[in-house]
């Protein structure tokens, strides 16, 4: 199997479970996860955070801080950024669905993610 196939296989069951719970298309969840991680090539180590969601003040769960280079005023500088930690990819997918259907997306501006099965 290729790494792309491996990545899809690793989260397919989780996507199907969350799809059954939410009514959202699991194919779309898989496509978005592939896009956000470069087909699984880039996942913050030890986080299962496949959508690179930051840990803002609303997040009460576990978080992990990473040093990241940020481009500010024409220069790359290193800053600290905290990200959510999930125990599984399924938890990450569930949190993503919660975001898309929650108050942070009131005008459905991210409605592409709400395509139904």
């Amino acid at each position: 199997m290729s790494s792309k196939t491996d990545f899809i296989a690793s989260i397919a069951d989780a996507a199907k479970t969350v799809s059954t719970e939410s009514g959202l298309s699991y194919e779309l969840m898989l496509a978005q996860a592939a896009q956000e991680t470069g087909w699984g090539a880039k996942v913050l180590p030890g986080t299962n955070n496949i959508f690179n969601i930051k840990a803002d003040s609303s997040w009460t769960g576990e978080k992990k801080t990473f040093q990241v280079p940020e481009y500010i005023n024409g220069k790359w500088v290193t800053v600290d950024a905290a990200f959510r930690v999930y125990s599984t990819a399924e938890e990450a997918l569930r949190d993503r669905v919660k975001f898309y259907s929650g108050p942070r997306n009131p005008d459905n501006s991210l409605s592409y993610a709400l395509i139904q099965k």
């Binding site: 956000e36 470069g38 090539a41 880039k42 913050l44 930051k54 990473f66 990241v68």
Partner: protein
């Protein structure tokens, strides 16, 4: 004697084999182990990242985000070396950072020895972008 052998082994393990070819260029052969060792070399990463960020397409992208008060971000925490068919690459990722998440823009692969740069397309395959392929 055994100390000398161990020292030579360590040097080879960390730096790989280097030798000068007839045309004067230095060739370095990597193994999975030496490629992994490169991953701990911040200077090597910085050089690869600079190669990527100095490309016109990346400069244009980061300047565009900057002009719109959006932020470009490098994926140091996610980047690592990759050993593929005898070659060692740095995998360099760039993101747009918004208050909620990092959104992946592109992943680049920099050949440590040849300095060629590839980028991942939508299908997850890598295509050579620098040096640009010569058109006839």
């Amino acid at each position: 004697m055994s100390r000398i052998v161990a020292l030579i082994f360590s040097i080879v393990l960390v730096f790989g084999f280097n030798y000068t070819k007839a045309d004067g260029t230095v060739r370095q052969d990597f193994t999975q182990q030496t490629c992994l060792s490169v991953a701990t070399d911040n200077l090597s990463y910085r050089e690869a990242a600079e190669q990527v960020t100095s490309m016109p397409m990346v400069k244009e992208w980061s300047a565009l985000l900057d002009s719109q008060s959006r932020m470009a971000l490098g994926g140091r925490a996610l980047d690592k070396t990759e050993f593929i068919e005898g070659n060692c690459y740095w995998s360099i990722s760039l993101y747009e950072s918004n208050p909620i998440q990092l959104r992946l823009w592109k992943i680049f692969r920099v050949d440590i020895r040849m300095k060629n740069i590839f980028t991942m397309n939508d299908e997850g395959d890598y295509v050579l972008i620098s040096p640009p392929t010569q058109s006839k």
